[in-house]
């Protein structure tokens, strides 16, 4: 096709400018709805730009014009051809009571896998310390866990949580952000076909198992449970949920649903991943607060029975929440 480029640009540029201005308006206010007349005009301008692109792509014109038109048509195409469900208004109450627990239950197999790997790590960590007590130094890279547990317990009970006085909020902030980052990494490692997630969960389990065995064999079981349960009853499940999300991602990559393309599989789980991320982050914020403001108090300042009871109550509530919350809505949704 022979085309007079300069004249073509002169004639068509006003339409491109109009389309660009309309696109800018739509993009600046995603929630805005165009009146019928403007929608028609928008469609006309898109068609015109697309046809200009067709004309110009057969002509050896400047690639700048081609690039400009392609970018313009691409932007308009995105607006006109979007058929996916529009974003619903976010309602925290609905998300908390329905969406998160439902999403959790939808991927229960991934959760069991995540839990199983953590338990396996716990057994392995405890087993290693049982066979070789000298491995403690290598397994527990934290200075405050290196000493004899009974000595640490005696010291903690003597100081009655004074060491954290005036630092608790900062400590809580540190715990929240650190645990969320660890959990996000565990999830992100799902992109290594789940291998990284497996390693991360197993390693977390190994540390937990080694610490637990160390305290139990030194006769500090009550302290251990009283120390770990108040925050651990929420923190550990949160990390396991992060692992669950990692396996959901890995499952989409590997392709358990063979009939779908990789992009369709990833798109199918994307919303669930975001929900799980929101869920474990919320739980970790709670766990951080409890760990900083409650878990660090020991007997005689805080009876272990109270701490263990509180931890068990939290675990029970968490299980009830994740297992039962939103079941009614779920049934209603699936019913014809």
């Amino acid at each position: 096709m022979i085309l007079d480029l300069q004249q073509f640009i002169r004639a068509e540029r006003p339409y491109w400018n109009e389309l660009e201005a309309l696109l800018r308006r739509i993009e600046e206010d995603p929630g805005a709805r165009l009146p019928l007349e403007e929608t028609r005009r928008f469609h006309y301008l898109y068609d015109r730009a697309a046809s200009d692109l067709l004309r110009i792509s057969t002509f050896a014109s400047s690639p700048e014009i081609l690039g400009y038109l392609e970018a313009l048509v691409a932007r308009a195409y995105g607006e006109i051809h979007e058929t996916r469900e529009p974003r619903r208004r976010f309602l925290f109450r609905h998300w908390f009571s329905q969406q998160f627990p439902q999403t959790f239950r939808r991927h229960l197999r991934a959760f069991w896998l995540s839990l199983g790997l953590t338990v396996l790590g716990v057994i392995f960590g405890a087993g290693i310390l049982c066979v070789d007590p000298d491995a403690k130094e290598a397994l527990l890279p934290f200075s405050h866990l290196q000493g004899k547990p009974s000595e640490r317990v005696a010291e903690e009970e003597r100081e009655k949580g004074q060491s954290l006085e005036g630092k608790k909020a900062g400590f809580a902030g540190f715990l929240m952000t650190h645990n969320i980052q660890v959990s996000l990494s565990t999830l992100a490692l799902g992109m290594t076909y789940g291998i990284g997630t497996v390693i991360s969960l197993f390693y977390n389990g190994v540390i937990l198992g080694a610490v637990s065995y160390d305290y139990i064999q030194d006769g500090q079981t009550r302290f251990l449970i009283g120390w770990l349960l108040p925050h651990g009853s929420v923190e550990i499940p949160s990390i396991i949920i992060a692992g669950q999300a990692g396996f959901v991602l890995a499952g989409a990559l590997i392709g358990s649903r063979k009939r779908m393309t990789l992009f369709d599989r990833l798109a199918a789980v994307r919303g669930d991943l975001v929900t799980l991320i929101g869920g474990f982050s919320m739980l970790l914020v709670w766990a951080g607060i409890i760990e900083a403001f409650f878990s660090q108090y020991h007997e005689p300042a805080m009876p272990y029975g109270v701490k263990i009871g509180f931890g068990l109550l939290e675990l029970l509530l968490l299980c009830g929440y994740l297992g039962l919350s939103g079941r009614k809505g779920q049934l209603g949704e699936t019913a014809p």
């Binding site: 022979i2 046809s51 050896a60 014109s61 400047s62």
Partner: protein, 269 residues
Amino acid sequence: MMLNLSGRKTLQIQTPEGVVFNLVAAGLFTRFLAWTVDGAVVMTASSVIGMGAQFLMILSPDFANALMIILYMVISVGYGIFTEWQWRGQSWGKQLLRLRVIDASGLKLQLSQIIIRNLLRPVDLLPACYLLGGTFAFWNRRGQRLGDLAANTVVVAIPGSFAVNVQSVEEGKYNSFRDYPHLESRLRQRVSPAEAALALDALLRRDEISPEARVELFRPLAAHFRSLVPFEEKVDEMITDEQFVRNVVASVYRQAGSRSSRTAPIAAD
């Protein structure tokens, strides 16, 4: 997705109306520069918050410390999500470097896509400095890092404003190809936009290079165009390689006014 003539990865999308358009995937270095700019923005914002927290230190050092830790994380994680959602796939760094995150199917970018591509950065960062993500993006046919793959997004370069500066090339020069309109037409059909732009660029920068280098530069260009459309010997023999390339450019970009007057200088266009 394919490679274009300049060796850059392009994303090809076909609309239901049959219109095909290509978007050029952003280069790794440009993305790295944009990331550096964004890093600087996050650092600056964190410093400002740190200074603000100094005032809170008077009231409660513990609370101020907690606030700083939490806000730093919120900013470093939320910055990319917020800016890319607010500005349709562009953070400050991307705006500056003229890049945009788009849905790989060309559709509207969704919030969940932005969240996923930003929160999966830890795996792209492994083992350090985006080595895994960068390597993956280098080999990926769409230039996607792992986070982009999961989110089905692609970072593309936004074309700048266009201007065809042919006049300075043509000025005062007679184009003997005008006597052969059928061959000119064939040139317009066979010369690709990228080839035309390359030739135009070479002509625009001819004064910056030595005469020997000019001869070396225009020889293969002219040979390439000659292979596309063979002209009669009498036309071909009379002109240098540079003149041949200039005539090709002038014919390809020719304007309306010159079409009627075959012998008029191109500058009259």
